[in-house]
């Protein structure tokens, strides 16, 4: 820490001071240091300072501790807030869909877009490590879609979403579905600026997923149990699964649906309309 001003920066102060030497003379000099000298010192040898002189280099042997207290996710969180402001400015509802691969995110979106049409006016920002396959399926519904390929990345972050938004340019007063990379771990940590995370869990996956991956279900506002048309063929205990989800997140809402048969889709649309209404109410407040 700088002994002069108390700050932690690495900078130079000019100062002037007088001191006495054993050589029985007094003189002024200008002295620049990278840091202050706390220690008293004596000069045993008489000498003159004919010229002001400069110590420009900080003394390399002095290690110092810099307090940072920096949140590692601060940069992502700041960019997420910027996205949130962008959504608010356009009167948009943004949702972050998270799940393991193969839970039926794209199938759910296809049906949702077809059945809600211009009422919700959905655009999709999709994240996958590779391929445009999901984007092509979504585009076939006629909605605006942009695929972000994360390459080796295992999640979308707020910066990728911010860039994607500018390229996608979704309309005012619409709904954006962010289809995250299929992964129940990493996306839990990264706020994208969404109003809510929606965790999807297909009944083919096993009812204990919420307790196996608690961070994701803790971070989500809604759990969608998908592919319920398959329940007659499985030994999936729905009540137990919901109890597990409420154990890690007592406030999570749960809906059961099948995007194939259409069962339960009306309740999902109702939830979306509620979110839309709440977002509009917040915008007016």
């Amino acid at each position: 820490m700088c002994a002069i001003c108390g700050c932690s920066g690495n900078h130079v102060h000019d100062h002037q001071h007088q001191h006495e030497h054993d050589g029985d003379h007094v003189h002024d000099h200008v002295d620049e240091h990278g840091h202050g000298h706390e220690h008293p010192h004596t000069h045993e040898h008489p000498h003159t300072h004919a010229q002001p002189h400069i110590h420009a280099r900080p003394h390399a042997s002095h290690a110092r501790t810099v307090n940072l207290e920096a949140d590692i996710l601060a940069k992502n969180n700041a960019l997420a807030e910027r996205n949130r402001g962008w959504f608010a400015g356009r009167g948009m509802l943004a949702l972050n869909l998270v799940s393991s691969p193969g839970s039926g995110k794209t199938t759910l979106l296809e049906r949702t877009i077809r059945e809600t049409g211009s009422e919700l006016n959905i655009s999709v920002l999709g994240g996958d490590q590779e391929t445009q396959n999901d984007a092509m399926r979504i585009a076939a519904t006629g909605c605006k879609v942009l695929q972000i390929n994360t390459g080796t990345g295992c999640h979308l972050d707020a910066e990728m979403v911010g860039r994607g938004l500018r390229a996608l340019d979704p309309p005012q007063d619409s709904v954006l579905m962010i289809e995250n990379v299929g992964n129940l771990v990493c996306p839990a940590l990264f706020d994208l600026g969404e109003r809510a995370k929606v965790a999807m869990l297909s009944v083919t996956e096993g009812e204990d997923k919420p307790v196996k991956y608690p961070h994701m279900f803790r971070a989500s506002s809604l759990m969608l149990l998908t592919k319920t048309d398959l329940l007659p063929h499985l030994e999936f205990d729905v009540e137990r699964c919901i109890a597990y989800a409420r154990q890690v997140n007592p406030h999570i809402e749960v809906l059961q649906l099948s995007a194939k048969s259409g069962a339960g889709m009306d309740r999902w649309y109702h939830w979306l309309r509620q979110q839309r209404a709440a977002q509009r109410q917040d915008a007016m407040a």
């Binding site: 690495n10 810099v66 992502n76 972050d157 961070h215």
Partner: protein, 109 residues
């Protein structure tokens, strides 16, 4: 493997604040409920630090234990994970410590 992205952020923050000085040690505080594996951070750190002001720096990790407050009875309890249950029987626990990911300090020369 979000630890790689997090380690890149750590190196970025430290190199910026070091302002040209060489970083000898970085100390992190990692909450036990932060969904981050300290071993994975260590694995990524040397790779990310290579060629920066942090090259060769030692990584210290302080584990911060999880604590929660019961929303039903207000008791404070230890939270080893999100399955923690209060002695009153409630699972509705607000996490009050152990979710943070912070760069606490660094030593520079």
């Amino acid at each position: 493997m979000h630890e790689l992205a997090l380690t890149q952020s750590i190196v970025e923050v430290c190199a910026e604040r070091a302002d040209g000085a060489k970083v000898r040690r970085v100390t992190l505080e990692i909450g036990q409920l932060a969904a981050v594996m300290p071993e994975a951070l260590r694995f990524c750190f040397d790779v990310c630090a290579d060629g920066t002001a942090l090259e060769g720096a030692r990584l210290e990790i302080i584990d911060v234990g999880g604590r929660g407050q019961c929303r039903a009875c207000a008791a404070q309890i230890e939270m080893k994970d999100y399955l923690a249950c209060c002695s009153c029987g409630s699972f509705d626990i607000e996490c009050i410590a152990g979710e943070g990911l912070r760069v606490k300090e660094m030593e520079v020369v």
